[in-house]
């Protein structure tokens, strides 16, 4: 059996990769994918804890997170596509009408 610390380490690494991805990428879609990575890192942690503690709560939580993530995809993609239609760009460093 894989020790829980390994799963947790993996989850932490995934999370940090996600955070760094959000910080360094400029394509809104890629940023969004990085955020999904963060969510999945959390999912991994949930599942790992769940198995470690023999409790189902964590796994149930993962279902909800997945659902929410799917809904977020729908909304997010809609916003990003609309942005592309209006501005012909998905690069977040070209989008700053609102500032100050």
């Amino acid at each position: 059996m894989i020790p829980i610390s390994w799963s947790l380490a993996l989850s932490a690494v995934l999370f940090v990769i996600g955070v760094i991805g959000v910080l360094v990428r400029r394509n809104a879609l890629v940023i969004f994918m990085s955020i999904e990575l963060m969510l999945n890192a959390a999912n991994l942690a949930f599942v790992a804890f769940s198995r470690d503690m023999q409790s189902l709560d964590g796994q149930v939580f993962v279902f909800f997170v997945m659902t929410v993530a799917a809904a977020e995809v729908a909304v997010g993609l809609a916003i990003i596509v609309n942005m592309f239609r209006l501005r012909e760009t998905v690069f977040v460093d070209e989008i700053n009408l609102l500032k100050g």
Binding site: L8, S11, F15, G18, V19, V22, A28, I31, F32, I35, M38, L39, A41, A42, A45, F46, A48, F49, D52, M53, S55, D57, G58, V60, F61, F64, V65, V68, A71, E72, V75, G76, A78, I79, I80, N82, M83, L86, R87, V92, I95, N96, L97, L98, K99, G100
Partner: protein
């Protein structure tokens, strides 16, 4: 293979769940009604939304004295839930009234607008009523997803879309942190139920357990984002600025109150009062939030942005109450939230009325001379501004008095002094609005006001409450205290 017992719902529970059921049903009904042709320009959707909100509020009001824990403790019906459900229904209703004419003017009059507004309200209620991190998360996302779309509802409008994109990306980012925090808390305590977490912690306090503390902090971060606390606030001015103004009004009141509701519930129920480690952190955040919000607002020329920064600053005052902690702190926060919601709705409400047709006037200078041409608008705006500035005899003043009183009681003298200094600074930019109203002549085309009966009703209600709670704060205060006492 023992059967899982079905939850036994007594009649009272159905009333308690009434708000949630009514809002879900109302939202779905509105979606389906889209396909029953209506007269062009019909107000069906708005009326139905109001009705739904009224039914929700009424259902919860009927069961206001009940204390029920439903669905294996995931959903609790207690004083706290009742207080916030009523608050959210009121915020929703005022927002619907403000949207009524505004959405027509700006060409976003679709039933979906109201559906999303109802869903977001539902999310807020779920956040306040949840006693489990799972449902809190679901409620938060329900609210956020609704708001993301509402912010970007003017699809052809560059600013609206940009605001939605920023709000969405950062909101999802913050959700990631929140979720990871929940995961760590779950790992540390083995449960997501707030009650069981509290029980677990009372047996084996995890003081200093890194996983527990880190989890708590990440959770705090997630909520701090929703309430727009510095340094997690940066989305606020842009999102408020770009969003349709009626949506700005709704989210500035509702989302903030919901964030604080969840934070308070988690802090008070699960973590046994605010954890000691949070004290200095919350103070630092409160100081930063007040100061950055107020100081940045000083130079704003756009009314919506100015009010956005002001709403950041107000989150700071509420955080002061949270630092004071305990039930007193919580009741001060509730009191302030209720007061804040209405004065802010009123202020943004006036902004929704500025301009005719598609034209929107959102600059402070657009108010020039309006005080004399439109006395009601001038008077109402002045009252909202002095209330936001914490000047008597308005509700905002009583809110600050109570928050600072509680903080003094907890020995937070420096924090209170900083708060007071901040509220003095804030008066300068609120005053600019009144100066514009009464002491400036319009440059160029004077601003027209779009009068519409529903918006006027909303304005009068918020105005009356802002004044009433300034003169007679006692009832609301008792209500806030009772709600906190009744926390299950």
């Amino acid at each position: 293979m023992t059967p899982v017992p079905a939850p036994q719902l007594i009649a009272l529970d159905w009333w308690a769940l009434g708000a949630v059921i009514a809002l879900s049903a109302g939202a779905m009904l509105l979606l389906l009604l889209e396909f029953v042709p209506a007269k062009p320009g019909s107000s069906r959707a708005a009326v139905l939304s109001l009705l739904t909100l009224a039914i929700s509020a009424a259902a919860v009001f009927v069961a206001r004295d009940a204390r029920r824990s439903i669905f294996d403790g995931m959903f609790v019906h207690d004083g706290f839930t009742v207080f916030f459900t009523l608050l959210f229904c009121a915020i929703g209703a005022v927002s619907v009234l403000l949207s009524w004419d505004y959405v027509r003017r700006t060409g976003i009059h679709h039933a979906e607008y109201y559906v999303l507004l109802l869903c977001a309200t539902l999310g807020m209620i779920v956040m306040a009523a949840s006693n489990d991190l799972i449902t809190i998360f679901v409620g938060l996302e329900l609210m956020s997803l609704g708001l993301y779309v509402l912010v970007g509802f003017r699809r052809a409008h560059l600013e609206s879309n940009e605001a939605a994109l920023k709000y969405f990306l950062l909101g999802a980012f913050a959700s990631g942190f929140l979720l990871y925090g929940i995961a760590l808390l779950y790992g540390a305590t083995g449960t997501t139920s707030l009650t069981r977490m509290a029980a677990f912690l009372s047996e084996s306090p995890l003081r200093g357990n890194p996983m527990f503390v880190a989890g708590g902090l990440l959770l705090l971060t997630g909520f701090a984002f929703k309430v727009a606390a510095v340094p997690f606030h940066m989305w606020t001015p842009d999102a408020y600025d770009g969003a349709p103004t009626s949506v700005t009004a709704f989210m500035s009141a509702g989302a903030k109150a919901a964030g604080f509701a969840a934070l308070l519930r988690v802090g008070l129920t699960a973590l046994g009062g605010m954890p000691a480690e949070w004290g200095p952190i919350l103070s630092a955040i409160a100081i930063l939030t007040m100061t950055v919000g107020n100081v940045t607002a000083l130079l704003q020329t756009n009314l919506k942005r100015m009010l956005a920064y002001s709403s950041i600053a107000h989150a700071g005052y509420i955080l002061v109450a949270l630092v004071a902690g305990g039930r007193d702190g919580a009741s001060a926060a509730l009191f302030y939230l209720a007061v804040y919601s209405f004065m802010n709705l009123g202020a943004f409400g006036i902004v929704t009325m500025l301009g005719r047709g598609r034209e929107e006037r959102v600059l402070v200078s657009d108010l020039a001379g309006l005080g004399f041409r439109q006395p009601l608008v001038g008077l109402a705006m002045t009252v909202f501004m002095i209330s936001l500035g914490g000047i008597p005899p308005t509700a905002g003043f009583m809110g600050k008095v109570y928050v600072f009183k509680v903080a003094l009681g907890a020995g937070l003298v420096p924090l209170v002094i900083i708060g007071v200094l901040n509220s003095v600074v804030s008066v300068f930019y609120y005053l600019r609005v009144t100066v514009a109203l009464y002491m400036q002549e319009p440059q160029g085309e004077p601003t027209e006001v779009s009068w519409a009966a529903p918006a006027v009703v909303a304005l009068l209600v918020t105005l009356a409450l802002t004044l009433w709670w300034g003169i007679q704060a006692h009832d609301l205060l008792l209500e806030a205290q009772r709600s906190v006492m009744g926390l299950l």
